[in-house]
Subunit: 473 residues, 2 copies
Amino acid sequence: MIDILLTNGDVFTMAGDGVGYLEKGAVAIDGNRILAVGPSSEIEAKYQARRTIDATMKAVLPGLIDGHLHTVIAILRGLGQDAPTWHEGVDPFFEQLTPAAVLAGAQLSAIEAIRAGTTTLGDYGPGMPIALPFYEKLGVRARVCTLISEVPPVESILEEGELYPFSRAIGESRLKENLDLVEHWNGAANGRISVMIGPQGPDYCSEELFGKIKAAAERHGLKLHMHIGQGDREMLQMRNRYRMRPVEFLERIGYLDEQLIAAHMVKCSDEEVERIAASGASMAFCPSSLILCDGIVPPADVFLRAGGKVCLGTDETSSNNGTNLFSEMKLASLALDMKNQDPTRMPTWKVLRMATIEGAEAIGLGDEIGSLEPGKKADLILVDLRKPSMMPVLREPVRNIVPNLVLSARGEEVAMSIIDGEVVYENGRIVTIAEDELLDRVQRVSEQVSARASSEVRWRKTFQHRLTLEGRY
Amino acid sequence: MIDILLTNGDVFTMAGDGVGYLEKGAVAIDGNRILAVGPSSEIEAKYQARRTIDATMKAVLPGLIDGHLHTVIAILRGLGQDAPTWHEGVDPFFEQLTPAAVLAGAQLSAIEAIRAGTTTLGDYGPGMPIALPFYEKLGVRARVCTLISEVPPVESILEEGELYPFSRAIGESRLKENLDLVEHWNGAANGRISVMIGPQGPDYCSEELFGKIKAAAERHGLKLHMHIGQGDREMLQMRNRYRMRPVEFLERIGYLDEQLIAAHMVKCSDEEVERIAASGASMAFCPSSLILCDGIVPPADVFLRAGGKVCLGTDETSSNNGTNLFSEMKLASLALDMKNQDPTRMPTWKVLRMATIEGAEAIGLGDEIGSLEPGKKADLILVDLRKPSMMPVLREPVRNIVPNLVLSARGEEVAMSIIDGEVVYENGRIVTIAEDELLDRVQRVSEQVSARASSEVRWRKTFQHRLTLEGRY
């Protein structure tokens, strides 16, 4: 007797180099692993399950992987857009975040994400010691790190071109926080939670600290996840400090290799992007956020052409403004088509791979999740093809399910999520938590943060405040 | 005793030049008109209603306006993307469409649209005599025309640069169809259905026919809705036939004026776009579709800067792939930011205006719908702000509801739609039709069309068929 048997679905295993389609397919799950995948008739004859789920008119696919997001500022949704710099709108509120607000952000993002088919959260932090007990209870898979920087919180008052000071004590303490996460959480919850190391960016740490970070990552066999080429400030800091561009610097200190996950790269030249890809590093691609913040499409096209692996990320609700990978898939496809003025540049099936198997590989979990194959962890979602946005379902002579998953689905079509073999979402409800209570609390805490921010004057200068006063918000 | 009273909402009237926000606002509806809008305390003291709806934690805003879509091919969803030309994938199936399929397309699009907050469908046809009885029953507002072309169905076998033949008989018959619509449907359903005239494009009609079309439009006081500058084929036809670019031709035949709604314009120069805007014509802006088909962002930024009015459109489910204006609003904002590499280029509040009041003005219904003002038709939606994607709701010191409507909402947040004073959608159900039965029929008819298309060979040459065979779809 096995635990779960899914039958008669339109199964997309994502194994091989395509989408691994099986018509009337079945998936057998025992414990937290996939036991078998195949034609429903065969699998049903072979296994009896405690729970059998008829997946007729459902797409069965690996759970979606959000490889890069910062839930810590999720309750600042809607405060960053429409302005020349995202920081301007968000910072006055960011400074008021309490531990309760950080938890609220993690709860809000995770609830939104799970309801829209995400099963792995690549939460970059900070705030992970607060978020992780919640992720453990919620049942989501999490692949986290925390921001390591040795810059004291003074950067906003620097003159243009002035170097950030580095504080060795701050750097050491942040590295320790990340290593504490490794000690207490890496492999926790039956392996559902794992930890990376997160140096914030090339301009945020001294060479000495970068050396210690790299040594620690190698000692523990961990991924390094870092923002690279994310803005003009970084480029200027690196030029003024080292007379180097970030990629050149990272190459010199030995950071370009398969341990690295590089986020954004919007300020890198194509040649620099190719060098990162050629090193075996992977990329976190967050189209909505970078377009919203800078009007720039991150160079995932260049990275893929150079042979690199790419995961998708929603980045932040204050620069996206959602935590929804279906939305991100559509934009990933259209943004790269638009950038290249070529409607074939980013095919839908490739985007679905970035959200599943290639995303898993990019964050170093390719052996565990991202495809439906025997032996892998059982992270999968059922998408209701009977929703208007997914109809009609055509299978012959052309199959239209994959393009409609990427370009038409909105997230609400997700009918069930199974993570690590457990049903976490079904019948419109997350079964592991009391959603309504949590959302009430999210609203309450957010109002408190907003009220505290009102007591100082910085927010008065923001674009968003002006738009509010003018009756445009 | 009035009919409906909405109380305690976050009301966005969209009156004036902003979003017309009212905290704890109320809307009084009697018959098919808005009677009063104001602070809930005042309005509640003044009116008693047969039905009072508490809109606490709901955004109340004008129903969204989809100014340009072709429902006739909606059951071909997912057959057009990922290829150099959209036609290649869609045409073999298009040729198999029956009247039942045309009806299924209208039903599918309208159901999807209403569930996502659309209250006006700018259906460009063809197929309107089939769709309109359904729209009347459904209760949606519709502003329709039908494609007028005098090109016989041979264009696909033309050599490059060869002129289409024109058939006067075909042109006359198509114009008559459109005028029959005017006669039978303009002003029908208590004014909920109205008719425009739809010459397909500058290359599809002779000068003589254009003259008759314009005269008919003026006689009846109707809008002309036309695709302009939509592709290389049009530019080549116009050059070879007239030695002119489309805009120059339209200017010469007197088509550039406030009667005109110009769709797409992706092949027009900025200067041509400005000339169209300066004439008083309006624009239908369909970002998803044009990016998907051509990788090009339509020049709505140029059109707006030149003082023109713009409505949004979803165009087609086979080139979008959805009929969801929330998705379209997000893409409208991000696509124009990206095109200009400027995150302030297309502010969210302006996009919300394009989907409501400015969209209404663009399609010639600005006096009737698009804002919540006394005397206007009662088309409005309630958006549930208690959904995770809309949370938190901040009102002080910065209000975040508008940016989250545009950038985070997915459509499922719509809790209720009132069209022409009637509740059409609530509690997750469209109340005027039997959705489940219709969707079963949509699936059945689509499978029949697909099966018929299989019997000929053209589909074998499509990109999408190759991707299906290769296991990528």
